[in-house]
Symmetry: C2
Subunit: 237 residues, 2 copies
DNA sequence: CAGTGGTCTAGACCACGTT
DNA sequence: ACGTGGTCTAGACCACTGG
């Protein structure tokens, strides 16, 4: 016996169309019945038939054009995406978080940094260097350069309780964020701070992150994670 | 002077609500006017007021509940995501692609592989090993294990022109894909195949990808890329 | 021109949660 | 009982497209 649940009519129409598409019966580009056609053949008002087509349009299964009709859209293979885990947040939620402040200082922009921060050379910038620890074990090395105009008090904060990233999100949420990820061998300083003493170990994931507030760069941070145990995406086992 | 364009009424209502939310006038959790309220105050039918609320709901700005009303939703910070570049596709588009077939054979599933492929131990599997080259320079090492039930002819194909991945997508598009990314030091065999001769070089990005067709595993592939020049996300310069 | 989708109306019935 | 959103109707006018 079929379910006793009474499905809304617009859902029946959607399923009718979805089935024709999924079965290959209506290949890409096929013109599907118009709102009036569906209204007639399903004994339904046009508004109801319209809703079915509208939602299939929203879901990307159909393309609709006034004066032309509704057509089976070609499936757009959305590029595979992985989430970037927030190491500090994970520790705060599931571990014991602490932070070693390696440095917190004013610097002058060299040529490269001026270019990346979209400021002039020799402009003053703030720079913070941190090691994030889980149960007193180094988990991530962070270096962040901040535009003083966006966060004048950045250098006066106490980053034992609140991370620099969290503070910046507080004083001015970025309007846009850029990420870049690669794998590197850490520098001697980074190895030391991360406690990577053995000769063999050392592969690290490096994430570069730039926060924008409209057209000005708020901050540029570099995160170095030991590759050991650092993964993106779902567990595969 | 304001634009002469005549906006649809439901858009005016949407803007009215959006403005109240954006200005902080209606903080998260605030109950917004009901469909009937809006219909009355905008001298519009309920269906039109409804459409405005419906679309704001779809866009995540509102949460609606029958019997209760519509409420300002709390902005959900979508986790940052990066796209996984398809190395082979990039070479085919912007370089000169070729492929060295290292191996193409039947294997028996050991315990680990059986678990990952969701088959029984000692079941037959197909395994392909490839090196993808750009201008005859190794760019990616690939190892792919395939379920024979899904692609019985997998092992008989010629993978010089079409990649194993492309072939599998052809015979049976996956219904779901899992990714996992990490950084590793390549094995001796991988180093040899990738032409990593110098002692210092060697950090690699490893991508594990599992294709599902409904509830069966179609394939499990491991991609090894020299980290040198391999990046995810937007260029930051 | 006839047909399409886009917008809109003024009603209606229902299931649901609060009171 | 009342108001909410969810579904639905039978009309309507419009801008746009094709033949």
């Amino acid at each position: 016996m079929s379910d006793i649940v009474k499905l809304p009519r617009f859902l029946l129409i959607k399923q009718y169309i979805e089935n024709h598409i999924a079965s290959g019966n209506w290949p890409v580009g096929t013109r599907v019945p118009s709102e009036n056609d569906l209204a007639a053949s399903f004994s339904v008002s046009r508004m109801t038939a319209r809703r079915a087509l509208k939602e299939l349009d929203d879901e990307g299964l159909l393309t609709r054009a006034p004066g032309l009709g509704s057509f089976v859209a070609k499936p757009k293979a959305l590029p595979p995406q992985v989430e970037l885990p927030n190491v500090v947040e994970n520790i705060q939620n599931f571990g014991i978080y602490s932070c070693r402040i390696v440095g917190l200082e004013r610097i002058q922009a060299d040529m490269l940094m001026a270019q990346r921060m979209r400021v002039n050379m020799d402009d003053e910038l703030y720079k913070g260097t941190f090691v994030h620890l889980n149960r007193d074990k180094p988990a991530q090395f962070e270096e962040i350069v901040v535009n003083p105009l966006v966060a004048p008090a950045f250098i006066k904060q106490n980053y034992h309780k609140v991370t620099a990233d969290a503070y910046l999100n507080w004083v001015a949420a970025p309007s846009h964020v850029e990420y870049r990820l690669s794998a590197v061998m850490p520098s001697a300083m980074q190895r030391r701070e991360l406690g990577l003493t053995h000769e063999g170990e050392g592969v690290c994931i490096k994430i570069t992150k730039r926060n924008w507030s409209q057209d000005t760069v708020m901050s540029l941070s570099t995160l170095i994670n030991p590759a050991e145990g650092y993964h993106l995406g779902k567990e595969i086992k």
